[in-house]
């Protein structure tokens, strides 16, 4: 028997496999495909204080081994989540992580306060790295002082596990990671999407309504892996690795580079059952390699 349990800053997950915000809806969309109770956790779609319509069509472009999205945090607002969605999904036997967003620090605080009051929510992911909104979003995550400020503000009102989601669109991600660690983050998750663009050579226009969008998928995996390894070596809090994970081997690479847990994003679109396959694959790998506790893999890359 392999012990797949992992501990993120005191919160225990069944296993290191979770699904990334914005790529797994609220979990409900996958009940036909996945036994949600098997997952380590679900990071739900990004939430904001108020209802948001998101960006105009087109919001998506396919790229080489990846995609650009410009959804722009379409959601019905935190109250709708609390009143209508959460009561439905809280029965899933897995950890539910709200992913919170804001245009100004005040918004983040208000959403975090509301999340703090939800019974059964143990953790939240503070998204300071959304590249698809005009105000706030990534702007917080690419400057150390503002990343620190929003982390501190949320820390003050949120008692549970605070995971800060970092933007890869920076010169030195370790600087931001150390900043948010100092500001009270219990864990960091990385990476969010890379700011990218697609152009239609025929129409001579940008493909996305917002011109730029966020790049995800296996294309970004090598950069994400590098950042996870850098951050793992820079901070003491746990790291959740994200970026182009398509299978168990990818997940293990992220763990070896320093991820305590991993998030699967875009791969859910290619294979809605991928999360379960990754869990099985990690277990097989552990068996084959005589690893009794999955935690032994974390940061175990020999350099």
């Amino acid at each position: 028997m392999v012990d797949l349990k992992v501990d993120i800053g005191g919160l225990e997950l069944k296993n290191p496999v979770t699904t990334a915000s914005g790529t797994f809806g609220f979990g409900e969309e996958f009940t036909d495909f996945v036994d949600l109770g098997l997952l380590g956790g679900i990071f739900v779609k990004g939430l904001t204080l108020k209802h948001r319509e998101g960006n105009h069509y087109p919001r998506m472009a396919e790229t080489a081994s990846g995609m650009l999205n410009a959804v722009g945090l379409q959601n019905k607002g935190i109250d709708y989540f609390i009143d209508t969605i959460y009561p439905r999904i809280k029965t899933f036997d897995t950890e539910i992580f709200p992913n919170i967003n804001g245009s100004v620090v005040e918004d983040y605080i208000k959403v975090a306060e509301k999340v703090n009051d939800i019974d059964g929510i143990n953790a939240l992911e503070l998204n300071i790295s959304c590249p698809n909104v005009k105000e706030g979003g990534m702007a917080f995550g690419v400057s150390c002082p503002s990343a620190v400020a929003v982390t501190e503000a949320v820390r003050n009102v949120f008692d549970g596990l605070l995971i800060v989601k970092l933007s890869p669109n920076v010169t030195d991600i370790t600087e931001i990671a150390k900043g948010v660690e100092g500001a009270g983050a219990d864990a960091v998750s990385l990476v969010n999407t890379f700011l990218g663009m697609a152009v239609d050579a025929q129409s001579r226009k940008p493909v996305l309504s917002t011109i730029t969008g966020g790049l995800s998928g296996p294309a970004i995996k090598p950069i994400a892996l590098r950042m996870v390894w850098q951050v793992y070596n820079a901070v003491k809090i746990p790291v959740l690795g994200i970026g182009g994970i398509m299978n168990a081997t990818d997940a293990i690479e992220f763990m070896l580079a320093g991820s305590t847990a991993i998030q699967i994003g875009t791969a859910n679109f290619i294979d809605p059952q991928v999360s379960m396959k990754v869990i099985d694959g990690i277990e097989d790998y552990c068996h084959e390699n005589n690893i009794s506790a999955i935690g032994d893999l974390v940061g175990a890359m020999e350099v």
Binding site: D32, G66, P272
Partner: protein, 254 residues
């Protein structure tokens, strides 16, 4: 119940240079598919096609465990789907989306253009089984682009327009005589290029007739998870894959 399933290529029926019907055969039971449902097809062996491609289900045979798609090759993915070998594995996620609603109608008009005709075989069969009088109005560029009329004829009257007049009436579908004179349909279903559907919806609206349209959209997941597909509606942005692809045109901002 949606599922992910491996099928194998059973064969092709080539309609013309760019259009074909791809039939797949599987081993598992096929869940109930409604007219308008679609599948997300993983294009096999295609280095430059990363995401699945949404394609309406043309037809399914629950006994033989086959499912077929009418596809027009417009780009990398649809070209490659037209060149698979018999027996090759194809993975699909299906059935997805909502579907055309068949209610207490007496006489319906179905307007299809281009690859938008795909949902209408199964819809026609459904209407016929309910004894609803059905007229298919199919628009194409030339007579080379007119397909499946034999199939449609089994379920109703078939009217045609071609832009060059090489078959049926000359002009666009909206120029067709069904729209002039008495318009005694009590429901319109449409699928095809956006401008066509908008024009049809406008006429239906003007006549006070209920109209449903199946929208196209760029999709990543097809199951309502990514929020990449979107259509503005009177109630705000809706997901085409999960809240559509079929919309009542009175709810759209057309």
């Amino acid at each position: 119940m949606k599922k992910v399933q491996d099928f194998k290529v059973l064969g092709y029926r080539r309609l013309n240079k760019d259009n074909y019907i791809l039939t797949l055969i599987g081993e598992e039971d096929i869940p109930r598919i409604w007219p308008g449902n679609f599948a997300e097809i993983k294009v096999p062996d295609s280095p430059d096609v990363f995401l699945r491609r949404p394609i309406s289900v043309l037809d399914a045979d629950y006994e033989k465990k086959t499912i077929s798609f009418y596809i027009k090759a417009v780009g990398k993915g649809t070209l490659k789907l037209g060149r698979l070998s018999v027996g090759q594995k194809v993975n699909i996620v299906y059935p997805l989306g909502n579907h055309f609603v068949v209610g207490q109608q007496q006489k319906v008009l179905i307007v299809g253009g281009g690859s938008g005709i795909a949902p209408f075989i199964s819809l026609g069969r459904e209407l016929k089984s309910r004894n609803i009088d059905t007229t298919f109005l199919i628009g194409a560029r030339t007579k080379e682009d007119v397909f499946l009329t034999g199939e449609f004829a089994r379920y109703g009257r078939v009217e045609l327009t071609t832009e060059d007049g090489s078959m049926g009436e000359k002009g666009l579908v909206t120029d067709h005589k069904v729209f002039s004179g008495t318009f005694d349909f009590d429901k319109v279903y449409t699928c095809g290029p956006d401008p066509m559907m908008k024009a049809v919806a406008k006429i239906a609206g003007a006549k006070g007739v209920d109209c449903e349209a199946s929208l196209e959209n760029m999709m990543a997941c097809g199951i309502g998870a990514c929020l990449c597909c979107v259509s503005p509606t009177k109630e705000g942005n809706k997901l085409v894959c999960a809240e559509g692809p079929v919309f009542n045109t009175k709810d759209l901002l057309w």
